[in-house]
Symmetry: none
Subunit: 215 residues, 2 copies
Amino acid sequence: MVREVVCAYLDREGYATIEAEDGETALDLVTSTSPDLIVLDVMLPKLDGYSLLERLRRDTDVPVILLTARAEEVDRVLGLELGADDYVVKPFSPRELVARIRSVLRRAQPTEQIATTLEYDQIVIDGASRQVVVRGQAVDMPPMEFDLLHQLAASPKRVFSRAELLEKVWGSSSDWQDPSTVTVHVRRLRQKIEADPDDPQLLVTVWGRGYRFEP
Amino acid sequence: MVREVVCAYLDREGYATIEAEDGETALDLVTSTSPDLIVLDVMLPKLDGYSLLERLRRDTDVPVILLTARAEEVDRVLGLELGADDYVVKPFSPRELVARIRSVLRRAQPTEQIATTLEYDQIVIDGASRQVVVRGQAVDMPPMEFDLLHQLAASPKRVFSRAELLEKVWGSSSDWQDPSTVTVHVRRLRQKIEADPDDPQLLVTVWGRGYRFEP
DNA sequence: TTCTCTGGTGAACGAGCCGTGAACGTCGAT
DNA sequence: ATCGACGTTCACGGCTCGTTCACCAGAGAA
């Protein structure tokens, strides 16, 4: 009942929703549809919310918002410890839930930013046209190289390990991938965007840790 | 008297408690039992709360919650500057104390890790870019040196023994490691961050004890 | 003072990381 | 079918960094 109300409201707000009436169904649906966010009632037939959350956290990072009737701190702490992203106490107003959802999505978003245009002194990276302009010169870039550059440049100065880049750029299927793939792509990027590829200023190696984009 | 009530309440909440009736006893008990959290009344025989807190902070990171009768801002600021994690004014309800305890424990729980940026007058240590800026000058740092510096600077004024640094920075496999490794890394750090490496101001040797970062 | 122990210094070695060049496979276009 | 662009893999070599060691300097104790 709560479920229908919530779904209706979220639909009206422009979110696409999928419902599951018990924990097991939910688990199946999550793996088959990989939603952007899960609103999870702890009182759930067949597989309760906490157990489901625990199972989910073993192999996904989907943001989860818990719904619980009990206002006690214990439940809140338990939920957050299991890896919930936020927590709403029943009874709640749909408005509040939507606010929480927005906030959680905003926090979780940063991975999905790949349409943004990034502008720095030496380089402009246009996410929409997927074009790069280096010191006034347009440069063509293959898909992988572009995505890699975009990922690095979207968080300037931040160090990314090869493993992290594999995960973020190459996607989920990158468990067995060879980290040296990243190395090679970085090299090719350098040859395209560095003034002197032998002395990189933009794509800096952080020894033992990974790479960093230096604007 | 307050002590018995608090302990009784905490016991009932499922926490294991140890009592000390004066500051000196407390200090002994802390080193011998290494508790997860300390609730500390500032009015204490033999060694008052503030002094005890100061002593504690020289060689531990135990979370500390201060109990004080005075509501004045001065006391609050003093306590927090000395490194208290939270602060409760008498009279207080046991429920409130428990809430604070939970909150502090939750914060302390997930080994607040190495993406934090530390800023001091002379030096800025950026965990994300793994860059150090010393008196306006950017300095790149090898992995181990950076981790060591970050560890020391994350708890300024606190003394770390070589063994402890080996454990915290070098990790689990550091049982047989040579403590002189730490010495050498400290030396190299000094050459990079000290104005005069022969007269260290930031990375101070505490003879017979270890090292301390002095902001 | 003298002795002992801790910490500082310089140098050297070896492991492992990264850059490099080249080759191979795949896929889509011609 | 052929070709070219792109992604991936791999071996090799250079070089950075971590570690160790012998030796020296300085603090503390007797």
